[in-house]
């Protein structure tokens, strides 16, 4: 970091100390400001970002210790250095326990001060670098993989590879829990924008005013409680991808604002008048029927077409049953690693139960069931009794009001277990193959 990129704030009630430190740091090329008390220091914190703050312990009004608490509440990564008289070293030690980087006793040796500031700058540089790297890793790393070999998911992945090469908007449609965010990340990580962040916003999670502020950011004082200028998700997504989850849940005004931003790639922060240019790709997702919402007048048609240049439809898990064991094993291995448990597989019965269940909560439900089973299981294999299904008391076939319904569902389950092997299924059901053929015909079952 160059000295001019570092902001140092000096807080001391003694003018001569403020001035001499000011001149000293100015000569090193730092951006420097001074404050004579805590009130003035907090005002400076609102107006500008600071990397290092030197603060005197003894000041009229709020003292340095209390001020340090306030500073850490605003930004715990600001490096604070305590200035103290020789007699008040005990208080300085208290300040160190409260998170101060170091302290200096007045007067300080110039070489000690230079070294201290060099170290503080280095610490600040490391903090900044660490935050940036963490953010990059979080954003670039695929949290989970798209797992599956069924024709349905292969078709989805082909679509992902096709749209990733373009810069068009993509709308991902699918039931809750089918992995829409995962697909958005897969598109981003295969696109030319992959070295920049993908910023996710769950549009359904915010009340209207807050969603606006989250997206567009706000200037200090733009509303009650807006004490600091804050960048919105649009700015954070610059050069990257903006993933708008649950897009079907936004208000009409928000739809209009969003349409304007997507068309012009320009916006202003709430309470601001400066136009900000932003370059991002939009991926959205919904589990709602937006075409129906358009017909009913609750979703703008122009926004829908703007967001939906490409659409990727994610099939529910019950329509790609052959992927269920793969997905279950994927989560089993993942949790075995993270929980450090020696669980290697499912028992055949447990796997049968998985395959027979309808998974109304889709992949998210598989993940939750496997995670819970991993916690409770005692052996190296997950057993049927380790499984617990949130959407039904046990893995029984749906329907089943009449004897025929029960029979139909049971045959269907066994056929799924045997992957359509008639001989095996007939043996399990203790009926002849011919009877089984007749029943398959009768109930229009798939083999």
């Amino acid at each position: 970091m160059k000295p001019e990129e570092i902001g140092i704030l000096i807080v001391d009630d003694e003018a001569s100390v403020r001035e001499s430190l000011y001149e000293w740091f100015k000569a090193d090329g730092y951006r420097v400001a001074t404050a004579e008390d805590a009130t003035s220091a907090l005002k400076q914190l609102q107006d500008n970002p600071w990397d290092i703050i030197l603060l005197d312990i003894k000041m009229p009004g709020m003292d340095g210790i209390e001020l340090q608490h306030r500073i850490k509440e605003i930004d715990q990564n600001i490096v604070t250095i305590i200035i103290t008289a020789f007699a008040a070293v005990d208080t300085a030690i208290q300040a160190l326990k409260d998170g101060a980087f170091d302290y200096i006793t007045k007067p300080v040796d110039p070489d000690d001060l230079s070294r201290l500031i060099r170290n503080a700058v280095e610490k600040r540089r490391l903090i900044t670098e660490n935050l940036q790297l963490r953010h990059q890793i979080e954003e670039l790393q695929l949290p989970d993989q798209v797992v599956g070999e069924s024709p349905a998911i292969k078709k989805v992945m082909e679509m992902v590879n096709t749209v990733a090469k373009t810069d068009s908007t993509v709308m991902i449609l699918g039931e809750s829990g089918t992995g829409k965010e995962l697909i958005a990340r897969a598109i981003h990580s295969r696109s030319s924008r992959r070295y920049f962040p993908i910023i996710t916003i769950n549009c359904g999670a915010y009340p209207e005013g807050l969603l606006e502020s989250e997206l567009f950011g706000h200037e200090k004082g733009s509303f009650t409680g807006a004490m600091y200028t804050r960048k919105g998700k649009l700015e954070m997504a610059d050069k990257g991808t903006l993933f708008l989850d649950e897009i079907g849940n936004i208000t009409e005004k928000m739809q209009m604002d969003l349409l304007r931003v997507i068309e012009t790639k320009k916006f202003t922060r709430l309470g601001g008048d400066k136009t900000i240019d932003c370059d991002f790709r939009v991926i959205s997702a919904t589990n709602k029927d937006l075409e129906k919402a358009i017909r009913e007048g609750s979703f703008r048609e122009d926004l829908y077409y703007r967001l939906n240049v490409f659409s990727v439809v994610l099939p529910p898990l019950r329509e790609r049953r052959s992927d269920i064991p793969l997905i279950a094993r994927y989560f089993l291995n993942k949790y075995a690693r993270s929980m450090n448990k020696n669980v290697t597989d499912f028992s055949p019965q447990a796997l049968e139960t998985f395959s027979a269940y309808d998974w109304p909560g889709n992949i998210r439900e598989v993940r939750n069931v496997v995670e819970r089973a991993m916690v409770v299981t005692k052996g190296s294999k997950i057993q049927v009794e380790d499984l617990s299904f949130p959407f039904s008391a046990q893995a029984t076939p749906s329907g089943g009001e009449t004897l025929e319904d029960v029979e139909r569902a049971h045959i269907e389950k066994i056929l799924a277990q045997t992957r359509g092997n008639i001989a095996q299924a007939a043996e399990i059901l203790k009926i002849s193959r011919l009877t089984l053929y007749n029943k398959i015909e009768k109930y229009h079952l798939k083999r």
Partner: protein
């Protein structure tokens, strides 16, 4: 004609000033002149610290500067301090008119070593150029081979040359409004 004014303050040994006059003039391509001024050392004395407040001396120095004085450099042989630091070799106004340097900690005898006048003079020249450099808008330079490199102990001063690096020269040219191709050369530049 504008000039750099060198002002001895309570200085008993004026022999250092002759070398300073020539070197400063050569460096900044401005005439230098030794001026006698009434500056009270006593007003800047801090009895608790037994040192002299350099900021207070600088304030006296820049008050009502003589006409056509482009820069003023005060030279003392007393121990200087600013309130937050235990001592300073000198002090300057960044992009200002005034600077001050002290010989006190430049003498070898301060460190219990035999006095070496030549070395003391060399140190004084470096510190004088360094502090005047601040008045021309230069900040501390990260280049070890530049006189604007920061010095917090005397060995630092000995390690660096008395010369400005090309980047700092360019800054001074810009500060003085001199074009890059005016033939303006710093005396040491071009020497091998």
């Amino acid at each position: 004609m504008t000039h750099i004014s060198l002002v001895p303050i309570g200085l008993e040994d004026h022999a250092y000033l002759a070398a300073l006059e020539r070197f400063v003039a050569d460096t900044f391509r401005l005439p230098t002149r030794v001026d006698a001024r009434e500056i009270s050392l006593q007003d800047a004395f801090d009895p608790n610290r037994q040192q002299y407040n350099s900021s207070l001396l600088l304030r006296q120095l820049i008050a009502a500067p003589p006409r056509e004085t482009e820069r003023i450099l005060g030279v003392v042989d007393v121990d200087l301090f600013i309130p937050i630091l235990t001592f300073v070799f000198g002090e300057a106004q960044l992009k200002g008119i005034g600077a001050i340097v002290s010989l006190h900690r430049l003498h070898n005898r301060f460190y219990g070593l035999p006095e070496d006048r030549e070395l003391t003079t060399e140190r004084l020249l470096k510190e004088a150029i360094h502090e005047l450099g601040h008045t021309f808008g230069l900040i501390h330079c990260s280049q070890p081979q530049c006189v604007m490199n920061s010095s917090t102990y005397v060995e630092n001063i000995d390690q660096k040359p008395a010369e400005l690096c090309p980047a700092c020269q360019r800054t001074i040219r810009a500060e003085r409004g001199a074009p890059a191709n005016d033939g303006f050369r710093f005396p040491w530049w071009g020497k091998k």
